[in-house]
Symmetry: C2
Subunit: 692 residues, 2 copies
C-alpha cells in the first residue's frame, strides 16, 4: 500500500529553482489579474502633479499606495518620486557669526585703507543661520572686523573687500525646488525625514504594507501560557513568522489555532483570503492522514507547487485562492523559517517594490536567506565534515568565527525541529542537491545572518562540553557586549585537533593520560609538538553516573552498567567522558559490548545525557554533577577530573581572549555562579598550568 497515491510527485518534491520559477511567474500572473488602473508614479524634475499613463507595470504598483505623515514614515517605501516643493535654504542666510554687508560697498578695503561701515545701515550683525537683510550680499566674519564708536554712531571696520556671497548660505544651496529628493521604491530613513520636511513635505505617499494572514493548524497545539499536558505543543511558529512578516515590512495578522479538521481549516482560509493580501497556513502541508492543507487549497483554488526538494522544508505548498497567494508552510520551525525566506519574503519585497538583487520583471532566481547584513556572503573553512543526501538541496545552519586568517564555519544541529540551531546560527550553508557531502576543511560559501563585525568579535571554542561555558558566554555578553563565544561540542580530542588545525581560538579539554595519570599535557606534547600554546585551568569537576531521582534501578557503581535491566546513554567518540567510561569498564574487566546502549545511544553534551536519563530513554549515563543537578537528578560520583582551556599563544594575546581571561581570572560574580552550579572546584581557575 502506498498512502501517497496521487501525491507521488510530492514525495521528493521539485527542484528549488523550478519551484522559484513557477512561484514568481505565477505571482506576476495573479497580480496582473487584480490590476485596476492605478495612479501614475508621477514624474521628476518638473510639474510634480502631472499624471501620465503607465507603460510598465510592476508588482508593487498593483497595491494602492497610502499617504502618511512624514514624521512617522521611517522604514516605509516611497510609492512615487518625491521632488522638492521648496528650496532650502529658502533665503540667503549667514553661514557665520559676523556682519552682513553689500559686497559692492567693500571694494578697496585693505589693511592700509580700512573701510568703516555704519552699523545698522551698511552692516548688520548676523548669527549663523540668520537671514541676510534684503539686498545684502556677503558676510564678514566677526573675527575679521573691528567695532568702533564715534559719538553716537557705531562703525564696523573691515580691512579686506568681501567677495560676492562669501560666508552666505545661498538660496537652494542644499535643495533646489523641483530637485529629486527621493526616488520611487526608496525605504525612508531618518535623514530622509529631515530632507522631506526641509523641502516642504509634511505627508508622503508610500506603499501600503501588505497584510499577511498566518493560520496555525494542529490539534496538538496550545497557545503559549496554557498549562501543558502530554502530547501538547506550544504554538510558537506563528509568532516567529509574524515577526518575520513585520521585519519584511508587511503587516502580520495572526489568526487563532485551527484543529486538524478539513472544514474548519477551509473556513479559516476562506476568511483569511477575503481580507488579506496573502495567507500562510502553518503545518498540514505534508501528505499524512491529517494533512489537509493541500486539499483545502486545491478545493478553493489551485496548487502551484507541492513539495520542494530541499531539506529542511520539503513539504511546502504554494498555491492561490481567489488570486491571492496562499502558502502552506511546513510545521517544523526550521522548515518554516527557510521556506518563509525562500518564498514569502521575496513576495513581500516585490509587493513593496524592494525586490532584492538583479531581477528582471519575470526572472526568478533563488533568493538568498533573510539576513542582517545586506546579503553578505563570506568564504569559510568547514571545521567538521558534513554528509548530505544526494538529490536534495540542504540548508545547514553554521556558527562562524575568525581564527587567525581563517573564517571557520561549524555546522549546528541539522534537524528541522532544532529551533536552537536558528537561535545560535551565524549563517546558512547551502549544500547543492548533487553533493554527497563536504569534507572537513572544505571551502564553503556562507550567507551571513549576523553582521560581519560580530563574526570578528566571536571567540571560537571547539572541544569538550562543560556547563560553565554557558556561564562564560553569558558573562562575556554582559560585560563585553560586543564580544561573543561560539562553542561547538566535539569532545576533548576534537578540541586539541581544532587548535592544531587553527580553526579554534580555544578548546576545552579533560583528557586523562592512562600511563602518567596526567591531564591534557601528554596529549598536547604529542599532538601539538612545536606549537606555542597556553593551557589554563577552568575547573576541577565531578564526573559520575547520572541516575533518575531516587535511583529507582538502584545503580551503585560501574558494575551495574552491564545489568540486563539497565540502559546506558553514552557520549560520542573522542570525548574525555567516553574515554573515562572506557577506562572505568576496563579497570573492572568489563567490555563495552556488555553495556546496553553503549553504541546505540549517543548524546553530544552532558545536558543531553542528563535529559536522556530524565526522560526515561536511558537509566544512567556518565556526566558531570552540574548537569545532574540542573535537571534534579541523582548522581553517583566516579572521579574528580581537571578541565582546562587550551589555546595558542597567538590567541592568548587577542583582545577578545583577554576579555575571556578577565572573566575567568577576576570576576567574582562569575565564580559565584559556577560554584552554585555544584560539583566544581575553582581552586586553580584561571591559572596557567602549562605553556610552550
Amino acid at each position: 500500500m502506498n498512502i501517497y497515491g496521487a501525491n507521488a510527485i510530492y514525495i521528493n518534491g521539485i527542484p528549488l529553482e523550478d519551484a522559484c520559477r513557477r512561484w514568481f511567474k505565477a505571482l506576476h500572473q495573479l497580480y496582473a489579474r487584480n490590476v485596476v488602473q492605478t495612479h501614475s508614479a508621477g514624474q521628476v524634475g518638473l510639474k510634480p502633479d502631472a499624471v501620465k499613463p503607465q507603460t510598465v507595470k510592476t508588482l508593487a504598483e498593483t497595491m494602492e499606495p497610502e499617504t502618511i505623515e512624514v514624521t512617522s514614515s521611517c522604514g516605509r517605501i516611497t510609492a512615487k518620486p518625491i521632488v522638492a516643493k521648496l528650496s532650502s535654504p529658502f533665503f540667503h542666510s549667514s553661514a557665520m557669526d559676523g556682519y552682513a554687508v553689500r559686497f559692492a560697498d567693500t571694494f578697496g578695503a585693505s589693511e592700509t585703507t580700512p573701510l568703516r561701515l555704519i552699523e545698522g545701515k551698511d552692516a548688520f550683525y548676523v548669527n549663523t543661520g540668520d537671514p541676510l537683510p534684503l539686498g545684502f550680499t556677503a558676510v564678514v566674519m566677526v573675527e575679521d572686523v573691528n567695532l568702533l564708536s564715534v559719538g553716537k554712531e557705531h562703525y564696523v571696520e573691515i580691512i579686506k573687500g568681501a567677495t560676492p556671497y562669501q560666508h552666505v548660505r545661498v538660496i537652494g544651496e542644499d535643495i533646489v525646488a523641483t530637485e529629486l529628493i527621493l526616488p520611487e521604491n526608496h525605504r525612508v530613513r531618518a535623514v530622509d525625514i529631515g530632507a522631506l520636511l526641509a523641502s516642504g513635505y509634511t505627508k508622503v505617499n508610500v506603499r501600503r504594507r501588505p497584510r499577511v494572514a498566518i493560520i496555525p493548524t494542529g490539534s496538538e497545539l496550545i497557545e503559549p501560557g496554557t498549562p501543558l499536558s502530554y502530547g501538547h505543543i506550544i504554538e510558537s511558529n506563528s509568532w516567529m513568522l509574524s515577526q518575520m512578516v513585520e521585519d519584511s515590512g508587511a503587516s502580520a495578522v495572526r489568526l487563532p489555532i485551527v484543529e486538524d479538521d478539513f472544514e474548519k481549516i477551509k473556513s479559516a482560509v476562506l476568511g483569511a483570503v477575503s481580507s488579506n493580501d496573502a495567507v500562510m497556513i502553518i503545518a498540514g502541508s505534508s501528505a499524512g492522514t491529517k494533512d489537509y492543507t493541500a486539499r483545502v487549497i486545491s478545493e478553493l483554488g489551485e496548487v502551484i507547487v507541492h513539495g520542494v526538494n530541499i531539506k529542511p522544508g520539503r513539504p511546502l505548498l504554494l498555491g492561490a485562492i481567489s488570486d491571492k497567494p496562499v502558502i502552506g508552510i511546513p510545521g517544523y520551525p526550521v522548515s518554516a523559517y527557510i521556506t518563509y525566506n525562500l518564498f514569502v519574503e521575496p513576495l513581500i519585497q516585490k509587493l513593496l517594490g524592494l525586490e532584492a538583487g538583479s531581477s528582471l520583471p519575470n526572472e526568478a532566481s533563488v533568493p538568498p536567506m533573510r539576513q542582517h547584513s545586506g546579503q553578505l556572503r563570506v568564504k569559510a573553512t568547514l571545521s567538521r565534515p558534513i554528509n548530505s543526501t544526494i538529490g536534495q538541496e540542504e540548508f545547514i545552519r553554521v556558527k562562524v568565527g575568525m581564527v587567525g586568517d581563517t573564517m571557520v564555519a561549524t555546522p549546528l544541529g541539522r534537524g528541522a525541529g532544532i529551533m536552537m540551531s536558528l537561535v545560535s546560527a551565524d549563517g546558512m550553508l547551502r549544500v547543492p542537491a548533487m553533493s554527497e557531502g563536504l569534507g572537513a576543511r572544505a571551502e564553503v560559501e556562507i550567507e551571513l545572518m549576523r553582521p560581519l563585525e560580530d563574526v570578528y568579535n566571536t571567540i571560537v571554542c571547539i572541544g569538550s562540553h562543560d556547563n560553565t561555558l554557558d556561564v562564560i558566554f553569558n558573562q562575556l555578553k554582559k560585560r563585553y557586549p560586543g564580544y561573543s563565544l561560539s562553542s561547538a561540542m566535539v569532545g576533548s580530542m576534537g578540541g586539541i585537533m581544532a587548535i592544531k588545525k587553527g580553526i579554534a581560538h580555544v578548546a576545552g579539554t579533560h583528557l586523562l593520560h592512562e600511563e602518567t595519570g596526567l591531564y591534557n599535557v601528554p596529549f598536547i606534547d604529542q599532538l601539538l609538538k612545536g606549537m606555542k600554546i597556553v593551557l589554563i585551568n577552568l575547573v576541577y569537576r565531578e564526573q559520575g553516573l547520572i541516575v533518575k531521582k531516587g535511583n529507582p534501578k538502584n545503580i551503585k557503581d560501574i558494575d551495574d552498567l552491564v545489568r540486563d535491566d539497565v540502559t546506558f546513554v553514552n557520549r560520542q567518540d573522542g570525548t574525555g567522558t567516553r574515554l573515562l567510561t572506557n577506562k572505568c569498564l576496563r579497570d573492572k574487566g568489563l567490555s563495552p559490548a556488555m553495556v546496553k546502549g553503549f553504541f546505540d545511544m549517543v548524546e553530544f553534551t552532558h545536558m543531553g545525557v542528563a535529559s536522556a536519563v530524565s526522560s526515561g530513554m536511558a537509566d544512567t549515563g556518565m556526566g558531570i554533577l552540574s548537569a545532574s543537578l540542573a535537571l534534579g537528578l541523582d548522581f553517583i560520583p566516579v572521579t574528580k577530573e581537571r578541565y582546562d582551556l587550551l589555546m595558542t599563544r597567538e590567541s592568548y594575546e587577542l583582545p577578545i581572549m583577554k576579555a575571556l581571561l578577565d572573566i575567568i581570572g577576576n570576576d567574582a560574580e562569575f565564580r559565584e555562579i559556577v560554584t552554585s552550579l555544584g560539583g566544581y572546584d575553582l581552586s586553580d581557575m584561571g591559572k596557567v598550568l602549562y605553556e610552550t
Copy 2:
C-alpha cells in the same frame, strides 16, 4: 574686541579622541552616582530564580529593566540570561508518518522472518509530530510496513528490527530545560521569540528603553506645515534626530520649539531633565550672541566638553545636569547627524547593554558612524582630490560604487548645511586632523552607510550634468529596485577622464570639437585611444541663457553678458557648458574677463545655475531649457547640442547597464517624462553613435 572671551578654548575645540574619552568617562561617573541596588542578572544553568549580589556594575545595569510580552519583544535587549523552563519537545514524538512500536518487540524481524504486530495494541499509526503512546520507543516509517487484515484483526508487518528511538524526536532534542536560550544583552529577533515561547516563556525581562528628550531651539524655526515667510526655517532636525534615537533603540521625546531666550531654554531643559534619561538641545551651542546652550548647562549643571575639533560638528556641547547627560547638538543638519552618532548613539548603546566593539568598561575609543551594514569598512579609490584644513578632523560624505575591480568613492557636498549630502551618501570618509587633503586616486577607508550589495548594484555615472539623469535614477529604482545610479557632476571632460581611469561605468558628455564641429568623438579618439568604448545618444538638448521671469534686464544675446548691470553665473571648469560659453564669447570677440561673475560665481549643475538666477544672485547663466522651465524662468536659446552617454564595452555588457539601456531604449514612460521636461529632442535616444 573678542566676543569669545572666556570661551577661547572653544574656538578650535578639543581633539575628537579627547572629547570621547572625557565624555565616556564622565558618563560612567554620572550613572555610578545614580545606582541603587539593582536586581541580579540571574544565573545560568541552574536555579533560574536565585538572586546573587553583583560584583561588576555595567552602565546598562543602572537602568531598571521591565517585563514585557515575548510576542512584542522583538528588537528589545534582554536584561538577564534566559534559561529554558521546559524541554522541547516535552514528550517523545514521531519524526515521521508511520507506526509507533516498542523497539524490544521488533528484535529478529527480517525479510525472511517478517514480524506481525497487532495494530492498536503493539503498533499505533502516528503522524509526524504526534506523541508516542507511553512506553513506545521507536517509529517504523509508513513506507517500510505492510498492512494486513486477518479476520477482524489488523496487523502491521515489518521486515526489519527497529533501533531504539529511531524516527523519534526525543524529549529535549531541541531544548533541554535549564539550557541557556538567550544571554544577557541580546537583541531579541524573530527566531528568539519562537525559542522563548517554545521553552515556556510568555514574558521576558528586557532593558527599559532610555527616554531621550529633544529640544529644538531658535527664534527663526517654525513647525513643518506652517506657512513660510522670509527668514523662517522649517524645523526638521528634531524629527531626524527623533528617528535616529528610535533607531538606536531608545524612546524619543520631541519637545516644542523654544525661541532664543535664555530663561525659556533654561526652563525647557529643567523640565526635560526631570523626566528623561538624557536631553539633547538643538542649536545655540556655538558662541554667538544668541547662543544660550552653554550658559544654560553651566548654570544648571556642568559643561564637560565645549567644542570638538571636527568638521562638521565643531560647536558641540557635552554636559550634565542633575546627573543626566545633556548634549548641545549643533544646528546644521550634517553636524547634528555626525555629533549624534559620535556621542549620543554610543550613550544609548551603553545604556541598553549593546556597546559596540571592543570596549573595556572605561575604554573610550572614537565610535564609528551609525551604519546599516554592521560597521562595514571598505577600501576605496578617491575619484576626486579633497582639500582639508590641517588641524581639524573632517567627515566627508561620499558616493561609493564598484567599477571593474575598483571600489570608487566620490566626495559629495561638504557644507554642514547640505542635508542632501546625507540623503545621497553611501558612506563616510574621515580625513584625519593632520591631513592637508587627499589626492585623486588616493586609497581611502570608507565607513559604509548602505549594505555592500547596494554598492555592487550601483551604476557610477561621472561627468556632465543633465536633468534626465534624475529621471533615469528614478526609473531604474522603479523598474529594477535592486539597482541604483550614483551621479557625480564633474563636467564632460572629467567624465571622459573618469572612463579612462576606470572609475566610472558611464559618463555624460556633450563636448563640441571646434575644428570639426563634431560632438564627443574627436575627444574620445584622442583621449581614449586603444580603449573599447560605446557611445550612445541620450538626447539633443537646448542650451541658452537662463534669465528671470519676464527678463527684467532685457538680455537678448551673448553681447549682453558684458553689460555693467548684468551678473553672470558660470559653470565649473571642464564642463561642456562652460566651453560653450567660452566659444560664444570668442565668436563675438569678447573676453571672459569682461563678464561680471564669470570667474567668481560658479555652480555645479544646471539647476544650480537656474537657482542662482531665480534667487537674484545672478541675472543670467548658460544652461539647459529644462532647468529653466523647472524653476519657471525665461530662456534665450543659444544652441542645440548632443548629449551622449559614454561607456567602456566591458561596462556596456554588465547587467546593471543592460537595465539602464533598457530604460533608455524601450521605456515609453521614461520618454514621456523626458519630453515633458522640455527642450529635449529624443530622436536618437538609445542609438549607438560610435563604438571602437
